[in-house]
């Protein structure tokens, strides 16, 4: 059974409907456990104190901001090359989710920056490139709305998504390539995580919770979009008859 089997919208809707309650349950469970461990059980940092707890939301949200955009770009490429109707749909559905995660990462980072750095915002390479990512998400969503014809909109938006993908490695490596105020990566690094295990576990649980949330919302949004298109097609058929 290939991926094409589920590319059929009806089969996809049925499968998505079956996965969704499970992924929603997993999201809730992981969120509760992750937040409890992060906010109450994990120790305070030796120099940040309790402000370190912001990290348990900030870092997974920032990872998701990059993950969602990568997903969006891959789905866009599949839509462009293989003309898969569901790929365009998946790309469109993932954009608002990614935009939300990007906003959360920026907002929580700002809240952390004030007590730690002494400023809400600086124009260093990491912060600026993430702000550009937020604008890319918003521009992508706006482009979908601006073009009436769904196929043309999908094409234009997919090209924008691919152009914007250049920003993803820039965000990831900005802290290594240039002097930034933002610290380099603590978890994904050559010599292993520089974060204590008692703080790493809640962080990874939160990352998984956000992943499960992404799956839940993606499926929900794709089903919604399919239903909307069905309604539109029915209305058109009704008007023509």
């Amino acid at each position: 059974m290939s991926i094409h089997y589920f590319a059929n919208p009806t089969r996809f809707t049925r499968l998505a409907g079956r996965i969704q309650p499970w992924s929603a349950g997993v999201t809730g469970l992981l969120l509760v456990v992750g937040l409890y461990l992060g906010l109450f059980v994990a120790p305070a940092d030796y120099q940040q104190g309790d402000s370190v707890r912001i990290m348990f939301v900030h870092v997974p949200a920032a990872w998701m901001a990059l993950f969602c955009y990568t997903f969006l770009a891959v789905a866009s490429a599949v839509g462009l090359i293989w003309k898969h109707p569901l790929a365009d749909l998946a790309a469109k559905a993932s954009a608002p989710i990614g935009a939300c995660f990007t906003f959360i990462a920026l907002a929580t980072g700002s809240l952390w920056g004030k007590p730690m750095w002494g400023t809400w915002w600086v124009w260093d390479a990491r912060l600026t490139s993430v702000l550009i990512l937020l604008f890319l998400y918003l521009g992508y969503m706006a482009l979908w709305q601006a073009i009436e014809d769904a196929q043309k909109a999908a094409r234009a938006a997919a090209i924008l998504a691919l152009v914007g993908f250049v920003n993803v490695p820039i965000i990831k490596f900005s802290v290594d390539w240039w002097n930034t105020l933002h610290q380099p990566s603590s978890v994904i690094r050559m010599d292993g995580p520089s974060i204590h295990a008692s703080m790493l576990w809640p962080l990874l649980l939160m990352a998984l919770a956000f992943k499960a949330y992404f799956i839940t919302m993606l499926l929900a949004r794709m089903r919604m979009e399919l239903n909307l298109r069905r309604i539109r097609a029915l209305r058109l058929a009704e008007r023509d008859s």
Partner: protein
Amino acid sequence: MTRKQRRLSIVAGFMLTLGVAAALVLTAFEENIVFFYTPSQLAEKNIPPDRRLRLGGLVEEGSIGREADGVTITFRVTDTVEAVPVRFRGLLPDLFREGQGVVAEGSLSAEGIFVATGVLAKHDENYMPKEVAEALKEAGQWKGDHE
């Protein structure tokens, strides 16, 4: 070549070109993207006085002092090779102390003193509970800043 293969190669070529273009632009603008200069970079650059810039490094051990007026703070920012004296009047972030990474914004005076208008603390990538930090220091395994 089928149409799919042709589209695939167009997209791949497009991404490759875009990547190279981005790399060239970023390399060309590197000077403007760095958030701060280290003391060594400052020493070799010969920057004219009164040009606004940011200076980043560690607060040198035992260099923090107060001037007679009681509010102006002086310290030296070092990258362990070069060091630049800094004078600052204002609020310091909580994390500011000897051995801490800082970024100061301001300009060099004619005497070679960096007159800062703002000081930010730079946090490193190490996260650990207090007990672990103390245990590491006791065991002599401490690689972070010196308190």
